[in-house]
Amino acid sequence: MAVLRQRWERFWFEPSNPTDLGVCRLLFFGIFFTYYLSQDLSEWATVSQAFWIPISYFRDFHLPVLPREVLDVFQGIWKAALALSCVGLWTRVSTLTTFVLGVYFIGLPHNFGKIHHLDAVVLLTCGIFALSRCGDGWSVDRLVRASRGARPAASGEYTWPIRLVWTLMALAFFGAGVSKLRHSGLAWIFSENMTMVMMQANTPLSARIAQFGWLCRLIAAGTVLFETGAPLALASRRARWVIMPGLFLMQVGIRVVMHVRFHSLMVCYLFWVPWQRLGRWLTAPLRRRASHAVFYDGACGLCQGTVGLLRSLDVVGRITYWDAVNDWPAIRRNFLHLDQAACLKDMHVTTARGRTLMGFDAYRALAWSLPLGWPLLPFLYLPGVAWAGRRLYGAIAAQRSRASCPMPVHPPTLTGGGIHGAQRTVRTDAASVK
């Protein structure tokens, strides 16, 4: 029993960092925002009640079709919440709004005839996001918190939502496989069933496949095998590498052959991608290149916040950070030309080619190094921007003093471990050490 419990907790609450969940949030809500943006769901208010056959909670809670004007307002709020959830601004509120209004808007069309089962996975995934800490990675909220010096630690908080979407998908496939065997038995595979399904689909390719009985039976067998075997992908890493790509290709195949679309469910495959590992692999050549070095006043709250922000934006990990207060002996050994007083006065950047820049020019050099800063580059080189930037930086730097820029007071952050690994640690930094 203890072993089972341990495995349960390891599966759901194995500590991980927020990157994968954050990337999934960004892509999931981004795709659905784009999808729903052009759809006018308030049009359902104009459809006759003759089509109204309410589903589950619409029936049980007597939820009506609201007037078009009301739907227009709530639809606007819902789409705005989808956009905010995507970028991760006020993430807790926006994901909760997305889910609560999604219960109505995603469910509404299903009361008019056909129930698209796969939207169900989307709605439940919205619910999972609403309960999760998905705004801790790849979000505006994260950048705001980073500028205050907070950095999220690895936690089970970032594991269970992803694993729950995995489980949801695996159970959807498993249910489909079990339904086939329950209603039709092995005849679903070995009879002419798949031949007839292909003929019903009535596309040039399905009609061609329907001419080969053995191929239709092979496709049917593969379908049932992969669907009923889907839960194995949760338990075995090796099975995962076979089953999930297999199911993905199966759905692509159905789209090509039968023109049946699984858009909603296919979006959820992004939860199976190890984004952080993939990112590291893709950016390895960039990381191997010489990087920039940033020198900052580690006893200044503003500088600490700026460095926190830079760390969040530095997704490739090409920049090294040197605290000109605490790391000075090491800086002195490696960068003979630098002066500590100057580094404490202005943020310095030493480029890969050995050039040392300060203030606005340092920031502009950093924008070249940060992929997330690339969109800013054209703006930073506009005539007059450098002039204004240097003056702005000078004004802020002149105002800055250790008294006016106190070190951020971090609340105790929960770090480490899984469900039982919670331990309270208080962050320490240069100023508190001093």
């Binding site: 049009e43 008019f112 005839g113 996975v121 089970g156 007839m196 399904v197 001419q211």
Partner: protein
């Protein structure tokens, strides 16, 4: 994770697991939980049938135009509308309901056509057919020339002033 957060996560996990497994075990659906029974019934060879929605436009003689594209049946898509008609046909008051539903399709089409100053021709009626065709042989793919029978299920004519 704090104890409170762990409780929230465990509850979410149990609700999703419980709901999904219950629907699979009992072969029931309570959307968004489902047993995902699509395509689970055995398809047998024999005559196949499908529904077809057409609009009747003026001309000599009047012609029928299939109403299948999203622009003619919004906010429905054809898959949803076809299933909606199928479900209406299963209802006890299907005759009345079907006429109201067809009337609704006609009214919405015309309203959209007028509102958008569309060049489409006005429709004087909409008809719902059930098509039957030969599905015995896999070498007989479904096509217009294989249709064996066309059964008119309902027709709604627009009032004269709307035409």
């Amino acid at each position: 994770m704090s104890a409170r957060r762990a409780w929230v996560a465990q509850t979410a996990i149990l609700v999703v697991l419980g709901g999904s497994l219950y629907c699979i075990a009992t072969d029931t659906e309570y959307w968004p939980f489902s047993q995902y029974e699509m395509y689970s019934q055995l398809e047998r060879s024999g005559p196949m049938s499908d529904l077809q929605l057409v609009g009747v436009v003026d001309g000599e003689p009047p012609s029928e135009v299939p109403m299948k594209g999203p622009s003619t049946i919004r906010p429905f898509d054809w898959v949803r509308l076809r299933r909606a008609f199928q479900r209406i046909l299963e209802q006890p008051d299907s005759a009345t309901r079907l006429r109201v539903a067809l009337q609704d399709c006609l009214v919405r089409y015309e309203a959209r056509r007028v509102a958008r100053h569309s060049r489409r021709q006005p429709m004087r009626a909409v008809r719902l057919y059930r098509l039957w065709w030969d599905g015995v042989s896999p070498r007989a793919p479904r096509s217009a020339d294989r249709i064996m029978r066309r059964e008119l299920l309902a027709e709604v004519v627009a009032p004269v002033e709307e035409i």
